[in-house]
């Protein structure tokens, strides 16, 4: 299924491919941390209060807030 969306909309266990970013400032930081276009991302789990979330990307676990996750566009 080709549904474009963002990382914040993913559910635990889902895997998607990063396509780009909607926030220039945060994208630079995210890319440095290994969130690159074309790289697969796995949504692991959310914090008990629903925010922040934990994803696997580029071989390690990264936590980020939902508002930041929402700037990462994906295709799955």
């Amino acid at each position: 299924m080709e549904t474009p969306g963002n990382v914040a909309q993913m559910k635990p266990g889902e895997i998607a491919i990063i396509t780009g970013f909607t926030d220039d400032y945060i994208s630079v930081k995210l890319m440095e941390m290994g969130c690159l276009p074309g790289v697969p991302v796995r949504f692991n789990f959310t914090a008990p209060l629903g925010d922040p979330i934990c994803i696997s990307v580029s071989g390690y676990e990264l936590s980020l807030r939902l508002e930041e996750a929402a700037t990462i566009t994906i295709v799955n």
């Binding site: 630079v28 440095e32 690159l36 008990p48 580029s58 071989g59 936590s63």
Partner: protein
């Protein structure tokens, strides 16, 4: 420059890459904390004897993910790397990378290589690499990067000797470049290199990219850079994302070549199983609060014994000095000013050591990142950060180690707010004041069958302190405006067993920092307070005995009672007493008289002194502070001459309780805030705010209740 220059070796790497383990390995206990000139970032350095017989200075730079700074800490690293002519410019750089996650480490490495300083790569965690089933072709990696690669395991020391051997040999900067400056940037870079002495294109490119990291340049040089930037319409940050993408694509190609066998991720199973529990809706919080409770208990209970020991040790030493040295102002200064002053510093060492033992274990094990993960959403609402939880909770034991623990918060605003509000949490030094005053005004009865009223009152005061802290944080969140955007993009590291020697180094480092830095301020203020309490105008202090004897001529006093009277008389007529009387009009609306005024003055430095001063001023000094019953009954008897009723009415008692809940009254805290914020602005603001809040609240309470 008669001294022979020691080679400077800088350690660089991602957070969690094992940089501090390597630093401790190389330098041992031979470490010191200094400052980078003019900024608020600590510079950790130490010395290491290399096999060539040369002693090198090892500088541990803050952990970074890239050369582009996001925080002040990171900006320091950028400046050290860009300023090739400066005093802090390293002769050699060791980039340490986590071999289980090489991709991100190589991003930083390629940037460092491109900037043109002699660099080697220390590939850490080779034990885990073996466990994860990864296999690298290190020769090829070295050849492709153009730098030497040394596999190490900083935890058990494997490979450290080889690293030292490599470091003792001269090596040149790598000749390869990973990143080529964009066509559009080539012209300004060329012009910059013509006008300024810059070693290579990428360094020049960074000059254009990082206008804020160029404070080492002279004003005219900076203007030249600005001029070139404007002339070519060069927008800093415009190509940064593209640069990252280009680097990563080179790195990916390289990794495809050098990875002989990729990881199977089963070695991370323990971590994901632990995470399922430790970040669980229920068990996550249960385990977190259990850990907090343990820390709190430890600081409260385990520290008591050594603290009592230190307390009595210094008291005995003081009286010993008094007994052997000739009587005089110098002896008195030593025995009543300096020794108790030093004692007042050392007494916090057990609490600081215990708290940092725990914090270091939490950091080392990887759990701290989960604390942030659990608490971030709640804390963010109040302008705080997930990492603020530990300082706030530790503040219940003692604000000093708690404030030192805010170092882990990267965001300047969130860290400042945490430092600012932590002293509002009711610390253990408030407890003796609380217990005495509560016993005085709250009946020892039970309500609803099992709630002890005094216990409820005590809990209420702790809650009040917590609410004041959270509320103040919220107000500060609205007041402080900074450009720095708050974000949380944080690695959740794999769980590991803490390395105990690293825990030990952290304890030593933090304790040393407190004793040396805060100690200076505390000692100075102790001496000032000693002068105020020991000297007074006229002959009243010198001839206190005659005055009291004259006064009490027709009373039959025991020797002890007479001594107590004399002590009270001396305090009343000292400068502290005079100030106490002078501030009486100010504190009268709170329901206090000059006697309480004196206690406010003397406990300005340390709130726990309140009880002792009250004991002295009511001439019961010799019964000892532990004898709360005596103090209590004496306070109960104290008559307010204006009303003829008791001095300590519920209104006065509650007003005092509220005052001590909010007031700063702790110079050790002020000293540590000064150290942590590197200036007097925040400690003074804090003192004013807390005293103001205390005064206003106590005023309202007294005026409403009386």
């Amino acid at each position: 420059m008669s001294e022979r220059k020691r080679p400077k070796i800088a350690l660089l790497g991602n957070p969690n890459s094992g940089k501090s383990s390597l630093f401790n390995r190389l330098t041992g206990l031979n470490q010191k904390i200094g400052n980078f000139p003019g900024v608020t970032v600590d510079k950790k350095s130490g010395f290491c004897l290399l096999p060539s017989g040369v002693t090198a200075e090892i500088v541990d730079l803050p952990g970074i993910y890239s050369i582009y700074p996001r925080s002040l800490d990171e900006q320091i690293v950028a400046e050290v790397l860009l300023d090739h002519r400066g005093a802090d410019s390293p002769d050699k750089i060791v980039v340490i990378a986590d071999a289980t996650n090489l991709k991100r480490g190589l991003l930083l490495l390629t940037q460092i290589i491109d900037i043109g300083l002699p660099t080697i790569l220390a590939l850490n965690m080779m034990d885990l690499v073996a466990k994860a089933g990864i296999s690298y072709d290190l020769k090829k990696l070295s050849a492709r990067l153009g730098v030497q690669v040394v596999p190490i395991n900083a935890r058990n020391g494997v490979g450290i000797d080889e690293l030292k051997r490599v470091l003792s040999q001269p090596f040149a900067p790598a000749e390869k470049n990973t990143f080529n400056v964009w066509d559009e940037a080539k012209a300004p870079v060329r012009e910059l290199r013509e006008k300024l002495s810059v070693d290579n294109d990428y360094e020049a490119y960074q000059f254009l990219e990082q206008p804020n990291s160029l404070r080492f340049l002279s004003k005219s040089d900076r203007e030249t850079v600005d001029h070139i930037r404007n002339a070519y319409n060069f927008f800093p940050g415009k190509f940064q994302g593209a640069e990252t993408i280009q680097r990563y694509s080179v790195i990916q190609d390289l990794l495809n070549d050098v990875i002989l066998k990729a990881a199977d991720l089963s070695w991370k199973n323990t971590t994901s199983r632990l995470d399922r529990f430790l970040t669980h809706k229920v068990w996550g919080y249960v385990s977190f609060f259990a850990i907090l409770f343990l820390i709190f208990q430890a600081i409260f209970a385990w520290a008591t014994l050594p603290m009592d020991f230190i307390d009595s040790g210094f008291a005995n030493f003081s009286s010993y000095l008094k007994s052997v040295l000739p009587e005089g102002p110098l002896t008195s200064l030593l025995a009543e000013g300096i020794i108790p002053g030093i004692g007042g510093i050392i007494i916090f060492v057990p609490q600081i050591a215990i708290l940092f033992a725990f914090i270091s274990v939490l950091e080392e094990s990887g759990y701290m990142a989960r604390v942030v993960f659990l608490m971030d959403k709640v804390m963010r609402k109040f302008g705080l950060n997930g990492k603020s939880v530990v300082p706030l909770m530790s503040g219940v034991a003692c604000a000093i180690p708690a404030i030192m623990a805010t170092r882990t918060i990267d965001n300047w605003k969130e860290r400042t707010i945490t430092i600012f509000v932590t002293p509002l949490m009711s610390c253990s030094a408030r407890l003796p004041i609380f217990t005495i005053l509560i016993a005085l005004i709250v009946p020892n009865e039970t309500a609803l069958g099992f709630f002890n009223l005094q216990g409820l009152a005590l809990m209420g005061l702790y809650l009040l302190g917590f609410l004041a802290a959270i509320g103040s944080a919220y107000i500060m969140k609205l007041l402080i405006r900074v450009k720095e955007r708050s974000f949380l993009i944080m690695e959740l590291p794999t769980y590991r067993i803490p390395k105990w020697s690293n825990v030990g180094y952290t304890i030593v480092e933090k304790t040393k920092a407190f004793v040396l830095e805060a100690g200076k301020v505390i000692l100075a203020i102790s001496i000032i307070l000693w002068v105020l309490a020991s000297y007074g105008p006229g002959d009243k202090l010198e001839n206190a005995r005659e005055y009291v004897l004259q006064d009490a001529a027709n009373q039959r006093l025991t020797e002890q009672a007479l001594e107590d009277r004399i002590a009270a008389f001396r305090l009343e007529n000292s400068y502290a007493g005079i100030i106490g009387k002078a501030i009486e009009p100010v504190i009268k609306p709170l329901g206090y008289d000059w006697k309480i005024g004196i206690a406010l003055i003397t406990s300005f430095a340390a709130r726990e002194v309140f009880v002792g001063t009250i004991a002295t001023i009511y001439s019961i000094g010799s019964v000892g502070e532990e004898d709360e019953v005596t103090i209590k009954s004496r306070l109960r008897e104290e008559i307010n001459p204006e009303t003829g009723g008791p001095r300590y009415t519920p209104a006065v008692g509650l007003s005092l309780l509220i005052f001590y809940t909010f007031a700063m009254q702790c110079m050790s805290t002020l000293a540590i805030v000064y150290r942590e914020t590197k200036g007097w602005k925040w400690p003074l603001l804090q003192l004013t705010y807390m005293t103001g809040l205390a005064y206003l609240s106590a005023f309202i309470v007294y005026q409403v209740l009386r």
